[in-house]
Amino acid sequence: MLRMEKIASGARIHSASQTQLHKKSLFSKIMTAMRPYLMVAPAMAVFGVFILYPIFYMIYLSFFDWNLIGDMKYIGLENYTDMLGDKDFWQVLGNSVYYMVMVVIFEMVLSLLLAAYLNRNTRTNRILQSIAFTPYITSMVSVAFIWMWLMDSDYGLLNYLLSLVGIGPVGWLSDPKVAMNSLVLVSVWKGLGYNTIIIISAMQSVPGYLYEAAALDKTPKWKSFWKITLPMISPTLFFLALMNIIAALKVFETVNIMTQGGPMNSTNTLVYNIYQYGFEYFKIGYASALGVALMVVIGFFTLIYFRVLSKRVYYN
């Protein structure tokens, strides 16, 4: 600031002959002020066009009855009252929440155990780590098809293995009580490697002297894991769990490929339901209302999660 004033006063003294300097300083002043906005402008433009605008347009559309090609008919809150009064909606919402809770619990616990096991930096572990990571880089579509094959009730490998130990065939994807759990299994299997790698890297950044101090006190291994490792990696766990919650609430590919929401709507989730209403039944307004519901649900869980857990996270 001071320097600017000096330049400005200097410019006033040297008036006429030095207007060039004055102008330039004003220009550069504006540029300095604008620079951060210019820097983020491209990113904000993309964000605005592909995220913000669609969100507001979706909210707008949710007040209409529209099939994408005919005339738009304003119907106020009817889509919302229809939605809340539809037992299918509550079933779908229940399915989504069930799926999310199961995926997050299994994924976090299993990947934590796996990470603890693979944490030591040996040659075998490095190989095992890359093996565990492979499902993550495989396309979800191929994963879904392969698991569909494994879970086939007549000719699938899983039922064959079960038959060897004398257990009757399980309708992995055709039994309404089992199908959702099969989707959870696929999702956990696919995401495990990624979570494990992230947790391992967090574990390896825990300073060694903490463990040395614990070892001097003859602390048992499980206790140093519980009292040192866990608190130290809690920011990472917090982040991972949040990412998993959001991803699980947005599940689509496995549902679309493996079950199409069936049998008897038992695996229909919010996003798949939106797809059905939007592109199979051509009810864009109702699909938009569902989209708003999804946004609210994700927002709700994220908020709860921050409220409840963020205080328990240890940041250095």
Binding site: L68, G70, L173, G262, M264, E280
Partner: protein
């Protein structure tokens, strides 16, 4: 050492960029297939517009510039070959003569075609001609997407009575024609006669539902295979309802006939046979299991479209069994819905493109082409004149199974519901069949619940 690290990093980042580009381009490829053609056709149309503006003649005999048309079709394999062959022939003959060139583009399943067509219409970038599953014609026509063809019918004296009556029902919406029947079919009953003979049964097949039940029991007892393998399929369910003398929806499509004795009878009839273990029903999304069942001779009978006849016959030959076909057995009466697709054109085309598109539709559905398509795929010939051609009559001599479908169509073929709510109604029906036939739910309560839901949907749509 440090230099090596940097080059490694640079190498890694180049790999990463390359990978991203590959993945992005592969994502885009599916959509670009549809858009690239659209853009090429639109650029062609603009140059056409200039040239014909000077000619000021809508009839395109002037042999100068050709009009580029895009044509969307569904399905691969024999059906794809049929489409490509016919389009190539059109371009060589009538197209070359009238200055029209058609590019055929594969779009996936019927659902894919409909979704893309909807998006293309909103974006103002439609194909000039497209196939459309007959159940969706009503929805698209009522929203103004489809061009009514009445004036073209009149102009060229199209004899609608030559087409089979059952096939024209879904070409007409609210008193206007919106398409002509192209690749059309009905469901028929396929039988593995090798298994039937083994069970000591008449290979002509069951004629009534009672006989069907007897057949199933005998087959299971004598051969161990299922009598009938089926899946929760709305199309055959429509046939069952027609055979009980009713239909899924009432005539003006304001309510359903699901909560009726007829429907309960249908649901109980199959549920009993399924519980006895002589019929197997799998969930709607497991339809491919019916195919595995008949290929492995795990079932003696199955119901599917006539369009599959060619491939079923070749599968049977490979696996060493004989196949016969017959009508879907009669309940109170015989009756089947028709299926398959019509050819349509969007209402958003320029007049010049409409004229050209009409030439193409007219040619594709004309006698000789229909006979060719029928013989090539197994779809039924769409008109009486096509059924009388040399191509078809000689086919019937070698493979009489083809004739069953056409006889059934001619005598008992009916339309499909046209209401915009039907896509959602279909999902409800599949859920009902899944519940009763796959998961053993109580028929009476499930039927009542489904009926209430469907009636709500229909009330919303009207």
């Amino acid at each position: 050492m440090k230099g090596k690290v940097i080059t490694m990093k640079r190498f890694a980042s180049i790999c990463l960029i390359a990978a991203m580009m590959v993945s992005m381009s592969s994502c885009a490829s599916e959509t670009s297939a549809s858009t690239s053609s659209a853009s090429s056709s639109s650029s062609a149309s603009s140059s056409d517009a200039e040239s014909t503006a000077s000619a000021t003649d809508s009839s395109s005999d002037n042999g100068g510039d050709t009009i580029e048309l895009t044509y969307w079709y569904a399905w691969t394999d024999k059906i794809q070959e049929n489409n490509e062959n016919l389009v190539a022939k059109f371009n060589e003959t009538v197209g070359a003569e009238k200055g029209i060139h058609v590019t055929a583009e594969y779009q996936g399943t019927y659902d894919d075609v409909h979704q893309k067509l909807q998006a293309a219409y909103v974006a103002g970038d439609t194909p000039d001609v497209s196939v459309m599953e007959i159940g969706s014609v009503g929805t698209f026509a009522r929203n103004g997407v489809l061009q009514p063809l009445d004036e073209y019918f009149e102009r060229d004296n199209i004899d609608t009575s030559d087409f089979f009556e059952g096939l024209m029902i879904n070409c007409e919406v609210d008193g206007h024609y919106y398409g002509l029947p192209y690749l059309r079919s009905t469901p028929i009953l396929y039988m593995n006669t090798t298994l039937l003979e083994q069970a000591g049964l008449d290979t002509a097949g069951p004629a009534t539902w009672d006989e069907l039940a007897d057949y199933c029991r005998t087959i299971k007892e004598k051969t161990g295979a299922y009598g009938l393998s089926m899946y929760s399929y709305v199309w055959t369910f429509e046939a069952f309802m027609m055979e009980q003398g009713t239909s899924v929806l009432n005539e003006d499509e304001t309510a359903c006939n699901i909560d009726t004795d007829e429907c309960r009878y249908v649901m109980h009839f199959f549920q009993d046979l399924i519980n006895e273990g002589v019929v197997r029903c799998v969930a709607g999304e497991d339809s491919s299991k019916v195919d595995t069942d008949y290929i492995n001779q795990n079932t003696a009978m199955w119901m599917t479209s006539t369009a599959n006849l060619t491939s079923v016959l070749s599968v049977a030959e490979e696996n060493g069994f004989e196949v016969n076909t017959c009508y879907i057995p009669a309940g109170e009466t015989y009756g089947v819905p028709t299926g398959g697709c019509n050819l349509i054109m969007p209402s958003s085309l320029t007049d010049e493109h409409k004229d050209a598109a009409w030439e193409f539709i007219k040619w594709m559905t004309a006698t000789d082409q229909s006979a060719y398509a029928s013989a090539y795929t197994g779809y039924v010939p769409n008109s009486k004149s096509a059924a009388e051609t040399e191509t078809i009559t000689s086919l019937w001599e070698t493979t009489p199974q083809f004739k069953v479908a056409l006889d059934q169509l001619e005598l008992y073929g009916q339309g499909r519901p046209k209401t915009t709510a039907y896509a959602q109604v279909e999902d409800e029906l599949v859920a009902m069949m899944d519940a009763c036939w796959v998961n053993g739910a109580d028929v009476d309560s499930t039927v009542a619940e489904t009926a209430a839901t469907i009636n709500d949907l229909l009330a919303d749509a009207n």
